[in-house]
């Protein structure tokens, strides 16, 4: 019987180290309290029915000591836990992009090169993988225990998270947020593969058009290009090279054009208006599926200058990339 999950990602050793520390603290205090309770209960057991204990003088020093020591310990735990968390929340820039859609009760995966998977995810080891996740219905949660990785997929927005597998193998993928009748059937496998095997897998399947190409098609379908045209005097701002850049908004605020911003600009265009453009864009809420949105994002990302180590560029040449410690 296993009592400890496999360590198969860069997060796992960090999470497990903190876990070990907390287990040590827990064991120490449980044993301390347990021993004291048992020893006192036996040593000071009542010897005659009407025996009464004498009052023990209270010590303010003792109260301070057992307030301050736990306080110090929990602060150590907090900073340690926060540092692990920061690692988990910041995707490195050169990660491999994968797009995930959750729906009752399956995981749909799209790779940038056009590969699609269902309840399965193939990733290379030694390479950060950045998931952009959306839900078509209720809240799901993408959970890979071997990676110590979990992220809720909340409808109405993108959930962005990342991991880097370290050990080739086949690992459980669970939905961890209760999502309805067949919640426990919303499971699958993550295959972490050696880079060479991963290349072989990429070459093997039928890829179809790339995700960006699919997004470009939707861009035409929804007539986005009539306003977001690449010419002077266009009614909407240009999208070329937009992704990842600072955008100046009306009122002087600036914001980085990330996936969340672009999504919001499609479904709720009035929320953040680019300086110099009138609020004329209609909302596309409910008109574009979650998968379609992800494709549009992939397309808009692909419009960014190839010089930047963007996701699309990196996907083209994975073998040349040096492993980067997050």
């Amino acid at each position: 019987m296993e009592i400890f999950p496999q360590q198969a990602s860069t997060f796992a050793p960090h999470v497990d180290a903190l876990y070990g520390f907390l287990i040590a603290v827990t064991a120490f205090f449980s044993l301390l309290i347990g021993t004291l309770v048992v020893v006192f209960a036996i040593r000071y057991r009542r010897r005659s029915p009407d025996e009464v204990a004498k009052d023990v003088h209270e010590s303010a020093v003792l109260e301070v000591v057992w307030t301050v020591i736990p306080l110090g310990l929990v602060l150590v735990m907090f900073f340690w836990g926060a540092s692990v968390y920061f690692r988990i929340t910041r995707p490195p820039a050169d990660a491999l992009d994968v797009y995930v859609t959750g729906k009752q009760w399956m995981w749909k995966i799209q790779h940038t090169d056009g590969h699609r998977e269902m309840n399965e995810l193939h990733v290379p080891v030694g390479r950060p993988v950045r998931l952009t996740m959306a839900s078509e219905d209720v809240i799901h949660s993408f959970f890979v225990p071997a990676f110590r990785f979990k992220r809720d997929v909340v409808p109405g927005r993108f959930s962005i998270a990342w991991f880097e597998a370290t050990l080739p193998g086949k690992y459980h993928l669970f939905c961890a947020e209760y999502c309805g009748t067949r919640h426990s059937g919303m499971i699958g496998w993550v295959y972490a593969m050696k880079p060479s095997d991963y290349q072989a897998w990429l070459a093997g399947g039928v890829a179809g058009e790339t995700l960006a190409a699919a997004g470009a098609k939707r861009f035409q379908e929804h007539a986005c290009n009539t306003c977001h045209a690449e010419q002077a005097g266009a009614r909407g701002p240009s999208l070329n090279g937009l992704f990842g850049k600072q955008v100046r908004l009306q009122g002087g605020q600036t914001i980085v054009a990330d996936e969340g911003y672009i999504r919001e600009s499609i479904v709720n265009p009035q929320a953040k208006l680019v300086e110099g453009y009138p609020p004329i864009m209609p909302t596309f809420q409910g008109l574009i599926s979650e998968e379609g949105l992800l494709q549009l994002i992939a397309y808009i990302k692909s419009l960014s200058p190839p010089a930047a180590p963007g996701a699309a560029a990196a996907a083209a040449a994975p073998a040349e990339r040096k492993p980067v410690k997050p």
């Binding site: 929340t89 995707p91 969340g260």
Partner: protein
């Protein structure tokens, strides 16, 4: 709670004064709403509303003449409302602080 603290009462003129002030403030807040105050429209409207609420509480509800415990209860309600709204809002305000896309 001492007896005289609960038995104080505002005078008639205090009641009518507060009533007049409330009416004036209502007119003021309507007038202010039509002015272009930039980001200040909402703060001004809220400041007027808070002033009106304080007047009602202090005079109409006799808070000014009540025991300290009552004041503590009122402060607690406002404090907890602030906790609910401000901490929830802090989540929304800081969501974009961590860049999830780095270039």
């Amino acid at each position: 709670m001492s007896d005289d603290s609960t038995h104080g009462h505002p005078t008639l003129s205090a009641y009518f004064g507060v009533f007049a002030a409330l009416m004036l403030l209502t007119a003021l807040t309507v007038w202010a709403a039509f002015q272009h105050l930039g980001i200040w429209n909402t703060p001004v409207a809220l400041a007027i509303a808070v002033t009106k609420a304080i007047l009602v509480a202090l005079i109409f509800m006799h808070l000014r003449y009540s025991a300290r415990l009552t004041a503590i209860v009122v402060v607690a309600s406002v404090a907890w409302l602030a906790i609910l709204i401000l901490i929830t809002a802090s989540d929304y305000l800081t969501r974009s602080w961590v860049p999830i896309y780095q270039r």
